[in-house]
């Protein structure tokens, strides 16, 4: 235990701690919405499409995350728009954006002269290298998400549950949809540094699946998902530090382990209860 407290005297570790806390808050909240609404695949599309922005960012010498943000939001809105207006089937529309983004990214990384530094950290995450600016952005996003979900909880819930019925009660369904898809895109981009493009889906689904074992109420799933996401990312961070393995993979592994253990505990309890 003493060594963990000692770790907090290092700046890089304090940064990593805040990064995992903010990742837990933002991914916990946004992931609950994604899982409830069954748009995990949409989120996968946005995540991978953002790689296109990272490639262009490298090529132009910008911060790759800026390019990723632009690509993520455009692909999010694009998927929504394609499905709603152009009548492309949603899964096909997702696949188009997903692969197009990856292709653009690969082309521009290839065209960038010299070596692309940190490319691996965007693909697989590197929580120990998150910058202070990125931490401020993640913190701001967490506050915005908490406020938005608390203040407009019922609006979000009703639109997510039954979009068409929500239209008949006069709710601004399209505005809410576009707003949420943008928030999903921003959440994904700001968390790329923590677990990486390839692995971020798990931070958006595993804590929620674990929370779902305890409750089937959206209201309760939100804080529970944040809690499980935090346990997973913090324990994963420590694990990666002591065993010296990449932090992104370590966090995902911890989240899966947590889910497995809780699932086992819950089903054992149910079995015992039904036998008694």
């Amino acid at each position: 235990m003493g060594t963990i407290i000692e770790l907090f005297s290092y700046d890089f570790f304090i940064h990593a701690f805040w990064a995992s806390l903010f990742a837990a808050i933002s991914c916990g909240i946004v992931g609950t919405y994604i899982v409830s609404r069954r748009i995990v695949f949409v989120s996968g599309g946005i995540t991978h499409a953002s790689f296109g922005g990272i490639g262009i960012g490298y090529f132009l010498g910008w911060n790759p995350l800026l390019g990723a943000a632009i690509f993520a939001i455009l692909s999010g809105l694009g998927i929504q728009l394609f499905t709603e207006k152009a009548k492309v089937r949603e899964d096909s529309s997702i696949a188009i954006w997903w692969s197009l983004g990856m292709a653009i990214g690969i082309i521009f990384v290839y065209l960038t002269p010299g070596y692309a530094p940190n490319l691996m950290s965007y693909l697989f995450g590197s929580v120990l290298t998150v910058s202070v600016t990125e931490l401020w952005l993640m913190g701001a996003l967490s506050v915005i998400l908490i406020l938005f979900f608390v203040l407009f909880y019922r609006l979000i819930l009703y639109v997510a549950f039954d979009e068409e019925f929500a239209r008949t009660t006069g709710l601004p369904v399209s505005v809410i949809n576009y707003l949420l898809i943008s928030l999903i895109a921003i959440t994904i981009v700001l968390n790329i540094r923590v677990v990486g493009i390839i692995l971020i889906l798990s931070l958006l689904t595993l804590p929620q699946a674990t929370a779902n074992l305890f409750t089937k109420d959206f209201k309760r799933m939100l804080p529970l998902s944040v809690l499980f996401a935090f346990i997973g990312s913090f324990v994963g961070l420590l694990f990666s530090f002591f065993v010296d393995i990449p932090s992104g993979a370590s966090i995902i592994f911890t989240l899966v382990l947590l889910f497995g253990l809780v699932k086992l505990a819950v089903s054992t309890k149910q079995k015992l209860a039904s036998r008694a």
Binding site: F152, L157, Y158, F161, F165, G170, K216, D217, M221
Partner: protein, 256 residues
Amino acid sequence: MKEKLVEISNLSVSYDQKTVLEGAELIVNEHDFLGVIGPNGGGKTTLIKAMLGLVKPDLGSIKFHVPLSKVGYLPQINQVDRRFPITVLDVVRSGRTGGHLLNPFRKDKSETLYAEELLEKMGIAAIRDKAIGELSGGQMQRVFLCRSLMNKPKLLILDEPDTFVDNQFESELYEKLKELNERMAIVLVSHDVGTISYYVKTIACVNRQVHYHPSNIISTEQLASYNCPLQIITHGDIPHTVLSMHENHDHHGHHH
């Protein structure tokens, strides 16, 4: 003179260049209990979705003489995700017309009380905190009926509320609707012609065109003449369609 609630005139709707409704005319008056029947894909659901403004018509007009907030709607049950993490009470509360939700400082007390009162009247107060995924088909339809009543509607539009329910619940549901009909007009979409014609007052046959039939008694021949070929099936105790159950009803001389 009955007050008109909705007037649909010359309504045409199409999806991807395929015409689903063409030149539909229909009037719903207060106290009406209109059964909407017709073959699958004939446009029943499209008709009510157009009424509710959920699909855009190519042509024609839909005039409401009641505010839309006084129209209750129960969609087809397969429209919702049954595993969505939401409680029964929240589903019922979502029926309330939503402008107030933009105000984060609103008071929810009376809304909750009314939702609980509806659940109580429907005999399902005990399941208010359950997730909808844990309900039976009958319970689910009752919850959606409560949701559609949240605004104390003057017109209630129901799209196949009899799917996924057992026979006992089905007759309970129709008795309930009969009771509600004393306070509001009802438009009921169903594929079960035999059963509903026992409860409804008038019938609309929808198969691309809409044929209004000002009686609840309809024969197979008439259905055919309305371009609406449906089998009339009787279920157990429920009287055969062609038999008159409403003594003071005008039969239009259409005995079998």
